[in-house]
Each structure stands twice: as structure tokens, then as C-alpha cells.
């Protein structure tokens, strides 16, 4: 199912967001732009974490329009926060259970997700004891066990040092390529985007960047 996003409004005192784009029903779409261009705000609005005036439609469902606002916990969205998003008081295993218990039945099996993200050895660890890469993988696993129809990732590699990033990118490429759901991947790194994404949406200063062109 494809996603249609049309948002326009003021965020805070001085930032104005004005975007209108659609993404394909399949594959990874990069949301590219320099820091401060509003990428994260758009991603948060799609997840229902932020209210920006406008409409968001996923397939034939309206997640947000003039009358409705579907709250975050009712949108079938997996969200990978920048720096990782796990519940800090639960072990990795308990985080996975937390996600799985609240999820509808779906295509992502627990064993499969754990194997694909390679977190089998981390189940008893608390998030504070994970490295940046482990945190990211565990967060992705959690997001997938939520059985999302759309996966949103906010700069998942930004917390890693360059060596870990190189290793991770390869792992990531195969993981993302085999996902049966569309993915929106926020990054400011053109190389990363080119390697992982099939399409891209470029942003600059709160608006779409028309001069950006396709991935180079």
C-alpha cells in the first residue's frame, strides 16, 4: 500500500513545514536532507507522534485529515528512533515480548526477526548495556515484532562510529532488501541513501527540494 503525505504548518516559533509527496508500496525510500531540514518532523508526523496540520493517507486509510487523527499506538507503523528506541527498564527479550504482546497477528515471526537482526545473544541485557549497533538491531527487531505495515527509520546509523557503520551497512542492506513492507529511511548521507534506497524524497528548510533530483 502506498503512502501519501501532505503537511503544511508551523512547528514551534519559527519553523515552517510544507511538504507533499507519496512513496511507493514497496522498497526503501530515503528521506534525504541536511540537519534541520525537517526530516524527523515529517517522520514523527507519519508515526502520529507529532501533530502537523495536513493529511496522511496510507492505502485507503486516512491516518490524519481535517477531522481524524489516528493516535500513534493505533497506526500500524514500526518506528526506529535515532539512537535506538527500547524501553530502558526492560531487557532486550522483555522489550520484544512487550512489542509482540500488543501486536496484531502478522507476517514477522519472532525467531525469524531475532535471527535476521542477529540479537539472539542479547536477550538478557538491559538497553543501557548495549553498544550503539546492538541497540539499533534490537530496536529494529522490536519495531518489526509490532507487525507494521510501514517501517520508519530515523538516521539508524548516525550513532555508530565509521568502522561499525561500514560493517552494519552490509548487514542492513540485505535486511532491508528482504522486508515485505515499505520503508522510509531518514538520513543526511547521500552514500548511505544510494546504497540502501531505491527512491528518495529530498528536503531543505522545511520544504521539498525540487533541485535535488534522483539519487546520485
Amino acid at each position: 500500500m502506498s503512502l501519501r503525505v501532505s503537511l503544511s504548518g508551523r512547528i514551534g516559533r519559527s519553523f515552517h513545514l510544507d511538504v507533499d509527496f507519496g512513496i511507493a508500496a514497496q522498497g526503501v525510500t530515503a528521506l534525504l536532507g541536511p540537519s534541520g531540514s525537517g526530516k524527523t518532523t515529517v517522520l514523527r508526523a507519519i508515526a502520529g507522534l507529532e501533530r502537523v496540520p495536513g493529511t496522511i493517507r496510507f492505502g485507503d486509510e486516512a491516518w490524519q485529515d481535517g477531522r481524524h487523527f489516528v493516535p500513534a499506538h493505533k497506526r500500524p507503523v514500526g518506528y526506529v528512533f535515532q539512537g535506538g528506541g527500547l524501553l530502558p527498564h526492560l531487557t532486550v527479550g522483555r522489550n520484544l515480548i512487550y512489542a509482540a504482546r500488543r501486536a496484531p497477528p502478522g507476517a514477522f515471526g519472532c525467531d525469524d526477526v531475532v535471527a535476521r537482526t542477529g540479537i539472539g545473544g542479547l536477550m538478557d541485557r538491559i538497553p543501557a548495556r548495549l553498544s550503539g549497533g546492538e541497540m539499533q538491531r534490537a530496536s529494529i527487531a522490536c519495531a518489526l515484532l509490532r507487525q507494521p505495515s510501514l517501517l520508519l527509520m530515523d538516521e539508524p546509523l548516525s550513532a555508530l562510529d565509521s568502522e561499525a557503520r561500514g560493517q552494519f551497512l552490509g548487514h542492513f542492506e540485505s535486511l532491508l532488501a528482504t522486508l515485505p513492507i515499505p520503508v522510509i529511511y531518514v538520513t543526511h548521507d547521500e552514500t548511505e541513501a544510494r546504497r540502501l534506497a531505491i527512491g528518495c524524497v529530498r528536503m531543505r528548510a522545511g520544504a521539498l527540494d525540487p533541485g535535488g533530483g534522483p539519487l546520485r
Partner: protein, 221 residues
């Protein structure tokens, strides 16, 4: 003497349980709301910190007296007044110790930040679910601190209990008012025994509070 100790502990225990239940939603709202007007409520809640306890005691006494419109609501149930009763003491103690419950809880809720709650939301947890499975466990330090502080502070109250309770033996007489009466009757030896125990109790309570915070701080690291 045993009766006085029992009244004191009962009062402190009941106040602690009730106040934690009542303060949690208030503290949660104060921590999460973005309206500046919430600080009006914040200030009202903090008022007992600076008001003389006798002022609180006086107003509660008036409110619980037979002429009070508040008590008129209870007249059909055969209750004419709650002044000089144990129930009245509980009501006074709730007000007196209110800031000691709300403040640590509010701070603990604020320290959680938005992130864990947003993570829970994106994992499909609704607002009530998030509150009980994320906010409460992450604020456990606040609940422990609030519990210890309220209990200890209620044991240590004097002005409010004297105003509302009148120190009726077996009903509303607590350690602090008994001690005061012993001093009035110049029985310094007996007064000293109570005073020394209260000092020891206060030390243990504060020590426990510091241990609890330290233990949790270490566990969080």
C-alpha cells in the same frame, strides 16, 4: 503509651497509602501538561510547605466542624462533625503532607522524558497501558521517596494534629502531642524518651531514603 504509638503509626500508614493514590494523577498531570496555568495548581499543592501547620489545622477544623457546608453533605449519613476524630486527622494529614508526595512523583515523572513513552506508543501501547507499564516502573524511585517522606513527615506533624485532633487519648493522641503534654506537666524524663525515639526514627527514615535512591541510581547505570 502503646495506644499512642499505634495511633501514630496507623495515621502515618493510612495517610501514606491514600496520598500516594491521590497524588499520582496530580503529579502526572503537572509533569506532562504544557500549559503554564498548571503552575497555579503546582503552587497550591506546594502551599503546605510554607504555611504554618496551625493555619492548615485551623481551616481543616472549620471545614470539618458541624457548621461547615462540607459537613452538611454528611448530615444525612448521621455524621455531624469530623473535628476531633481520627478521620479528621487523616484529612488534615493528607493536606499537610501533600507536597511531600506530589513533588518527588512529579520530578520522577519529568525525568522519564518523552522518549520511553513514545517508544511504547509506537509499539502499540495506549495511554493507560503506557502509564502503568512504562511511567510507573520508571518512576519507582519517586514512589519510594514519596512513600518514605510522607510516612516520616506525618509521624512528625504536630500543629495540624493538635488543632484538628485535640489529643484525645486512644483516638487522636499521637507521639508528638503526647510529648508536648509531658513537657507541659514537667515530666521531662518521659518527654525525653519519646523525643529520642522520634530523632532515631527520623534518622532511619532519611538514611533509608538516601539508600533507596543510591541503590536505584546504581541499578540504572
Amino acid at each position: 503509651m502503646n495506644l499512642v504509638i499505634r495511633t501514630t503509626i496507623e495515621l502515618a500508614a493510612i495517610t501514606t497509602v491514600l496520598l500516594l493514590l491521590l497524588s499520582t494523577p496530580v503529579a502526572w498531570w503537572l509533569a506532562r501538561s504544557r500549559q503554564w496555568a498548571k503552575e497555579i495548581v503546582g503552587a497550591l499543592v506546594a502551599l503546605p510547605l510554607i504555611l504554618p501547620p496551625t493555619v492548615i489545622g485551623f481551616y481543616v477544623l472549620v471545614a470539618l466542624g458541624p457548621q461547615s457546608p462540607l459537613m452538611a453533605l454528611l448530615h444525612p449519613f448521621g455524621v455531624r462533625t469530623l473535628a476531633f476524630t481520627f478521620e479528621g486527622l487523616v484529612i488534615g494529614s493528607l493536606l499537610y503532607s501533600l507536597p511531600f508526595a506530589v513533588q518527588p512523583l512529579r520530578t520522577a515523572f519529568e525525568l522519564i522524558g518523552d522518549r520511553p513513552l513514545e517508544v511504547a506508543a509506537t509499539l502499540g501501547a495506549g495511554p493507560v497501558d503506557r502509564f502503568f507499564t512504562v511511567a510507573v516502573p520508571l518512576a519507582r524511585r519517586g514512589f519510594l521517596s514519596a512513600g518514605i517522606l510522607v510516612f516520616a513527615h506525618t509521624v512528625g506533624e504536630f500543629g495540624v494534629v493538635l488543632m484538628i485532633g485535640g489529643a484525645i487519648p486512644g483516638k487522636t493522641e499521637v507521639l508528638s502531642t503526647r510529648m508536648f503534654q509531658l513537657v507541659e506537666s514537667l515530666d521531662f524524663a518521659a518527654a525525653h524518651r519519646i523525643a529520642a525515639w522520634l530523632v532515631a526514627f527520623a534518622f532511619v527514615a532519611v538514611f533509608l531514603l538516601l539508600l533507596v535512591e543510591r541503590r536505584i541510581a546504581v541499578a540504572d547505570r
